[in-house]
């Protein structure tokens, strides 16, 4: 653990309340049939044990959007390693964005999902992203690159996740990206 000043200036915290079970939220984060339905929409591969691999793949929509903007999209857009998996309560992993060379060079960041069941079927999901030494990625996940067509980061993803779990539908990826 580094000192407070170093870690905190580069940590982002997001929270959303979702009317769904902790299990449903856990599945939505860790299962490909769910991850392709919200946010950036790629399928994930999780080996849910310490040291297990994590990969998020580019969706077809993402590849198409990349091609239209004139840059190639790698197959594995995010990779990392599972640090702790305690379904359906806590998931800690490393996370590296490979979409962009500069961000890939910033290396692995640390991501924590905390899922806490509340009253009346409402579950609290908190995402803590520790982004030390990754200023470009920090900008991306905070939604700072939305106007460049890079999506709205965590708040956008979590808003869409809530909508999907509560209503069964999510945003149209292309429509959402073109709104930037």
């Amino acid at each position: 653990m580094t000192t407070t000043t170093e870690t905190t200036l580069t940590t982002q915290v997001y929270r959303v309340y979702i009317k769904a079970t902790p299990e449903a939220i856990w599945d939505a984060i860790t299962k490909p049939e769910w991850t392709e339905k919200y946010g950036y929409g790629g399928r994930v591969e999780f080996d849910l044990r310490p040291g297990g691999a994590y990969r998020a793949f580019a969706s077809e929509a993402m590849k198409k959007a990349g091609a239209e903007m004139g840059f190639p999209t790698p197959d594995v857009i995010v990779d990392g390693e599972v640090i702790e998996a305690d379904p359906p309560r806590k998931l800690v992993q490393t996370w590296r964005m490979n979409m962009d060379q500069e961000m890939a060079a910033e290396g692995f960041t640390r991501l924590t999902y905390e899922i806490v069941e509340g009253k009346e079927g409402v579950t609290k999901l908190t995402v803590v992203h520790e982004l030390e030494g990754a200023p470009q990625l920090a900008l991306l996940v905070s939604g700072g690159k939305e106007s460049e067509g890079a999506g709205g980061g965590w708040s956008w993803v979590l808003s869409d996740l809530k909508t999907l779990l509560e209503t069964g539908t999510s945003m149209d990826w292309q429509v959402a990206l073109n709104q930037g």
Partner: protein, 115 residues
């Protein structure tokens, strides 16, 4: 269905009420510039008692606009943009053509779980 609508209205109400105060907007602006601040740091920026600042922070926390997170011994305050995003997305969704989702089975599954 009605309970969901009513609950949503309540969530939005909390956000709008939290925003309807200049001190609380100022606190959010401070956190927007740089978040992960302690109560003492935030207090130093305001001409107000510690108790007063705490009260405002509590309203912001209840609206979900501020989230506290512990780092070592310190309780740090973070700006949480998700509630504002939810309001934004709801309005945008209203006016954009949405794909017809074939996720009806998921809705049913989740509603059954809830029942």
């Amino acid at each position: 269905m009605w309970s969901r609508i009513l609950r949503t209205v309540t969530d939005d109400d909390r956000v709008f009420k939290a925003l309807a105060d200049p001190t609380r907007r100022f606190l959010l602006d401070l956190l927007f510039v740089r978040d992960s601040r302690t109560l003492t740091e935030l207090e130093s920026e305001l001409e107000m008692t510690r108790f007063g600042v705490m009260k405002h922070l509590r309203v912001l926390e209840e609206a979900g606009l501020v989230v506290t997170h512990r780092s070592g011994r310190e309780k740090l305050h973070f700006l949480n943009p998700v509630p504002i995003r939810l309001i934004h997305d709801r309005w945008i969704d209203k006016y954009t053509e949405r794909r017809v989702s074939a996720l009806a089975e998921l809705k049913h599954e989740l509603e059954e779980e809830m029942a």
